[in-house]
């Protein structure tokens, strides 16, 4: 079955800018809500977007989040320039965290971000190059529940 791309938009994320952290996800939420995509899919997507955005802000120098809407699903591609993740399997374990006290004071870094992202995605991939950066891909169907 052929997938038709309906919308593609990229957003820049500034590393270490905690004041703006979450703005991109907020914009994406409004954009998709105005397009009328189903609330369950929207909710899952914005949780993935927000956790991903926080990770870029907390760990990376900068990053880009690309939103792709097709006639079957919504996708997010997040790439950053940052330290990378040496052991992705370990990073995906709930409770594992490398966060600093500063990050925890922001309310993040309790080892739930990546598991939350994976749980809310129908397809989820991470590729990381230590010392260079990380790329995350998430796909969420438009007819999913929960």
């Amino acid at each position: 079955m052929k997938t038709v791309e309906l919308l593609r938009e990229s957003f820049e994320i500034q590393g270490r800018n905690f004041d703006k952290a979450g703005e991109v996800s907020g914009e994406i939420k409004v954009l998709l809500r105005d397009l009328g995509i189903n609330p369950a899919s929207l909710r899952r997507l914005v949780i993935v977007a927000f956790e991903a955005e926080m990770n870029v802000v907390m760990y990376a120098l900068r990053g880009t989040m690309t939103l792709i809407l097709t006639d079957h699903d919504v996708r997010l591609e997040i790439t950053d320039e940052g330290p990378g993740i040496p052991d992705i399997e370990l990073a995906l374990q709930e409770g594992y965290s490398t966060a600093s006290d500063e990050m925890r004071e922001m309310g993040f870094g309790f080892g739930m971000g990546l598991p939350n992202m994976k749980k809310n995605s129908d397809e989820f991939r991470i590729v990381s190059d230590v010392g260079k950066g990380t790329s995350v891909f998430a796909k969420i169907g438009l007819n999913t529940n929960g």
């Binding site: 952290a21 979450g22 927000f50 956790e51 309310g107 993040f108």
Partner: protein
């Protein structure tokens, strides 16, 4: 339970959302960890937290909670309250600590999300 009843029980001050206190809540998420709120909130819950920065309201917005109560007398700054007002999320503050708040609300029949 209506937000207005919760305000009275917890002796809250309302910082924004005075006109939305008729909202009814049945479930509660309580944490200072925003990922925990995001992991458990299914929407329309009451969120209780001691974290008063802008991310607390962003999390509330993304998670779709009904209202936010800041515990142990912590107050968000004006920018945070204004952001909550824009997002139409009522914000209340109480001097009570999180443990007591949860106990009082649980006694009233409200439940957590699991």
């Amino acid at each position: 339970m209506k937000l207005s009843e919760i305000r009275d029980l917890l002796q809250c001050e309302v910082l924004t959302g005075e006109n939305d206190l008729f909202l009814d809540v049945q479930q509660v998420v309580a944490s200072d960890g925003m990922s925990e709120i995001l992991a458990f909130a299914k929407s329309k819950e009451l969120m209780i937290t001691g974290l008063t920065n802008i991310q607390s309201i962003r999390t509330a917005d993304i998670a779709g909670v009904s209202a936010v109560i800041y515990c142990r007398g912590k107050r968000p700054d004006k920018k945070v309250v204004e952001f909550a007002r824009q997002k139409r999320i009522p914000v209340l503050v109480t001097k009570m600590v999180m443990f007591d708040i949860c106990g009082i609300l649980y006694n009233q029949g409200l439940k957590g999300v699991s």
